[in-house]
């Protein structure tokens, strides 16, 4: 749970959730709740992530073998399923990140500095 009001937070753009999950896992294996927390925290609580929505996304990634999973024990001694980036997941992350940055830059250019002022 975050301290901000939910209505102020940004909804994720379609297709970005997979990228965020992959990115979160670059620092090492993480369990479901950890991934959700990490996305919220690193975005400074700007992004709204419905925790339940992470599960289908992770299943999708698992099916494509970009991440792998195994049961382990969390820092406060709870059993949890830990996810890990695979080699092809890492490649996918690089590819997707490049693509996203290009897209963001391009959209930023079009919107221009005027938009920032307004």
């Amino acid at each position: 749970m975050s301290t901000r009001e939910e209505s102020e937070r940004l909804e994720l753009l379609q297709g970005t959730l997979d990228l965020l999950i992959l990115r979160t896992l670059i620092f090492g294996p993480q369990h479901g709740q950890g991934i959700a927390r990490a996305i919220e925290q690193t975005s400074a609580d700007e992004l709204l992530v419905e925790h339940g929505a992470l599960y289908p996304a992770r299943q999708r990634l698992e099916a494509r073998e970009w991440i792998s999973a195994a049961w382990g024990v969390s820092e406060n001694n709870r059993r949890a399923r830990f996810y890990k980036l695979t080699r092809s997941g890492r490649q996918q992350l690089v590819k997707e990140t490049t693509r996203w940055l290009r897209l963001a830059t391009a959209i930023g250019r079009i919107l221009g500095p005027e938009a920032e002022e307004g």
Partner: protein, 460 residues
């Protein structure tokens, strides 16, 4: 992913662990235990729908639903025992009767002989008439003499090989393997080319060859049929060399024909095949091996590949005229000249073999088939009625299911599955019934004390 190795329980455990960890975190931040738990749940969103989505992603949903439909259908059928039983029995009777009659029809009228390339076979004439006749040929020929067969076989260019079979099955009595008792034996006299023409290979020993059919009285050999070998010899592999004594002649058994081969006449199954050269020894009254006009044989030829029925017919008739002109001699009488102008051989396709049953039963069988087809139609109408009655009784159930959200397609599917279950059960019972019924039919059409040797088992 149709088949995930991950179990539903594993997924639920993960969700639970997620909730736990989130609750712990919120608890640490100072929320009360119950509040923390509720907040964690809110953050997770709809747990049931997540679990359902997982369930659906792990299997081929249509199969899962089908399996549920089948189980539900079985329960529904079991609940209405009486109408279900009525429908199934009606269907079973209809299907059983049809299958039984068709099995017989198939065996008598339609099924090909169990020989190689049955379509290449051509019967000389239509196998009308049995026994022997000695009239000079003057119309469409049905029976042929041994000398005619020999000469024709030697001179023709359109047939791969030609076989002759005695038009009657000789039922004689003989001693088997030197035994004391006279046993009934059905012997079919055939030419040495018989097995070669049909492409039938023995399962034991050898079959008759040309060398077994050369000189009258000089070839006391016999090929046993599979059914006789099974019945009389208990499939003893040491049958080769055993003897059958018929009259004063001792025949040694040289081979066994394959199980499916019953000869070429449907409804007649000889115990042994003996060379035509032994005609006089089998039946002393029949002594026509050297008589040009002792016509007692059916002749069947196998066309060479690429030779059409018309070409074969033309060549056959040309040869026929040549041969009967020889028979008439250099100075034929006026009557003989006229007869010869009318003498001809009509080739008929013999893929389904010869049978006297065909002439006798084709019309009755066709009528019977029509009748049972009608019976099936009536059975179907009855079942439709039953289902209709049941559907109106189930209106309430269907209304309830629709109101709690069942899609129209699911309901239709459910009803279809129920009907299919009923139909399949009826069909299975019907086929069982058919095998008993076709045997009964066979007994009914068999005139003598013995059942006609026809295989009415459904085809593979």
């Amino acid at each position: 992913m149709f088949w995930s190795k991950r179990k539903q329980g594993d997924f639920s455990a993960e969700l639970e662990s997620h909730l736990q960890i989130e609750t712990d975190r919120l608890h640490e931040q100072g929320f009360a235990e119950s509040e923390a738990r509720a907040a964690a749940r809110r953050a997770l969103g709809n747990r049931t729908s997540a679990e359902e989505r997982f369930y659906e992603s792990t299997r081929w949903m249509s199969w899962d639903l089908l399996w549920r439909d089948i189980r539900f259908g079985l329960r529904m059928l079991a609940r209405n025992r009486v109408s279900t039983a009525a429908a199934i029995v009606t269907l079973a009777l209809g299907i059983g009767a049809n299958t039984a009659v068709f099995s017989l029809l198939n065996a008598v009228l339609l099924r090909n002989l169990p020989v190689q390339q049955p379509r290449e076979l051509a019967l000389f004439g239509e196998a009308q008439g049995m026994g022997s006749m000695d009239e000079f040929p003057k119309a469409s020929l049905q029976l042929f003499s041994y000398p005619f067969f020999r000469e024709f076989r030697q001179k023709n260019q359109v047939f791969f090989d030609v076989a002759a079979v005695s038009s009657i099955l000789f039922t004689t009595h003989g001693r088997v393997a030197g035994g004391a008792n006279l046993e009934k034996i059905g012997a079919e006299l055939v030419s040495g080319s018989y097995f070669h023409t049909f492409g039938v290979n023995p399962i034991l020993g050898r079959t008759l060859s040309d060398a077994d059919d050369q000189h009258p009285g000089a070839h006391p050999v016999a090929v046993a049929s599979f059914s006789w070998w099974q019945r009389r010899m208990a499939q003893d592999p040491a049958i080769l060399g055993k003897t059958i004594t018929i009259g004063h002649t001792v025949y040694s058994i040289i081979g066994v024909a394959p199980p499916e081969f019953f000869g070429v006449t449907v409804g007649q199954s000889p115990d042994v095949w003996i060379p035509l050269a032994m005609e006089k020894e089998i039946s002393p009254g029949w002594n026509g091996l050297e008589k040009n006009l002792f016509q007692s044989l059916y002749v069947i030829g196998r066309r060479k590949p690429g030779v059409t029925m018309e070409q074969a017919g033309a060549n056959t008739n040309l040869l026929l005229q040549q041969i009967i002109h020889e028979y008439a001699g250099p100075q034929p009488s006026v009557k003989q000249v006229e007869d010869m102008q009318h003498a001809r051989i009509d080739l008929t396709p013999a893929a389904t073999g010869l049978t006297h049953l065909r002439q006798a039963f084709s019309a009755p069988l066709a009528i019977l088939m029509g009748v049972v087809a009608l019976v099936l139609l009536i059975a179907c109408a009855n079942v439709a009625n039953l289902l209709l009655a049941r559907a109106s009784a189930r209106q309430r159930e269907i209304a309830v299911r629709m109101s709690i959200g069942a899609r129209r397609s699911r309901l239709i599917r459910q009803l279809l599955v129920e009907s299919a279950l009923m139909g399949l059960t009826g069909a299975a019972l019907g086929v069982l019934l058919a095998s008993a019924a076709s045997r009964l039919l066979l007994v009914m059409v068999s005139t003598g004390s013995e059942t006609l040797p026809i295989s009415v088992a459904p085809d593979a």
